[in-house]
Symmetry: C2
Subunit: 118 residues, 2 copies
DNA sequence: TAATATTACGTATTACGTAAAGATT
DNA sequence: AATCTTTACGTAATACGTAATATTA
């Protein structure tokens, strides 16, 4: 079970339709179908009942739906905190005596930022 | 970012050592190293400071550590609920008039279970 | 020099797309 | 017949292992 599979699963659960779910996921419909089948096989549980053109969650599917929501929420939140966050990363502490600090530091720091490119 | 990568990351964070983390993860040490690098590249953040033989979490690493713990906990809980749980799956409701139920149902149901193999 | 991490590169797994077939309305 | 899903199969991406190369205590 991987994160990308859970995203596919959620797309199907929310659209109730493999074709639309595939479009939303930017992959072909058979590939998405395959991943859902892989998930079902790994879990040993059918996740959807294929009723003609309707796709409905099974009991196991509903259980996974709950978990997937919680997992993906945590994942996206964590990604949001981390992804290329410029506030994270190495810090530099600079000390200076009070007399010169207000005069020199602003210009010097701006120069540093410009050279580093941040 | 995928679940298997988060497990590798946790292994390194907990052991503070790529070699031991690889052993615990049952993969070779270079492969694990590569996955950590992939993660760092995707996130645009260094996750560990390699200080000679010590490996220490960066600030971004600590942020991911929190998230990874929550994510993996949810994942494992969800997997535990689902994986080949025989209680899940299709249910069959059987009705019978009170008079015959206690006499016939036990044997018939046992027979069904035996034929289905459950 | 011993212990550890990274780089280089080939192999094997596997996710994906296209085409064809099956199933349902 | 039209719409949707699954099956079949080839391709491309990539996770992994082995070997060689840094790097540090």
């Amino acid at each position: 079970m991987e994160i990308y599979q859970l995203r596919y699963f959620l797309a199907v659960a929310e659209t109730g339709n493999f074709t639309k779910a595939a479009q939303r996921s930017f992959i072909s419909q058979p590939s998405l179908s395959q991943q859902i089948l892989n998930l079902e096989e790994e879990l040993g549980q059918k996740l959807f009942d294929r009723l003609g053109r309707k796709v409905v969650l099974t009991e196991a599917g509903n259980t996974l739906l709950d978990g997937a929501h919680r997992i993906i929420t945590e994942v996206d939140q964590t990604l949001g905190e981390l992804k290329s966050d410029p506030l994270l990363g190495p810090r530099v502490s600079v000390g200076a005596i009070p007399t010169v600090a207000p005069f020199f530091l602003p210009g010097v720091l701006a120069h540093c930022r410009a050279r580093v490119g941040s």
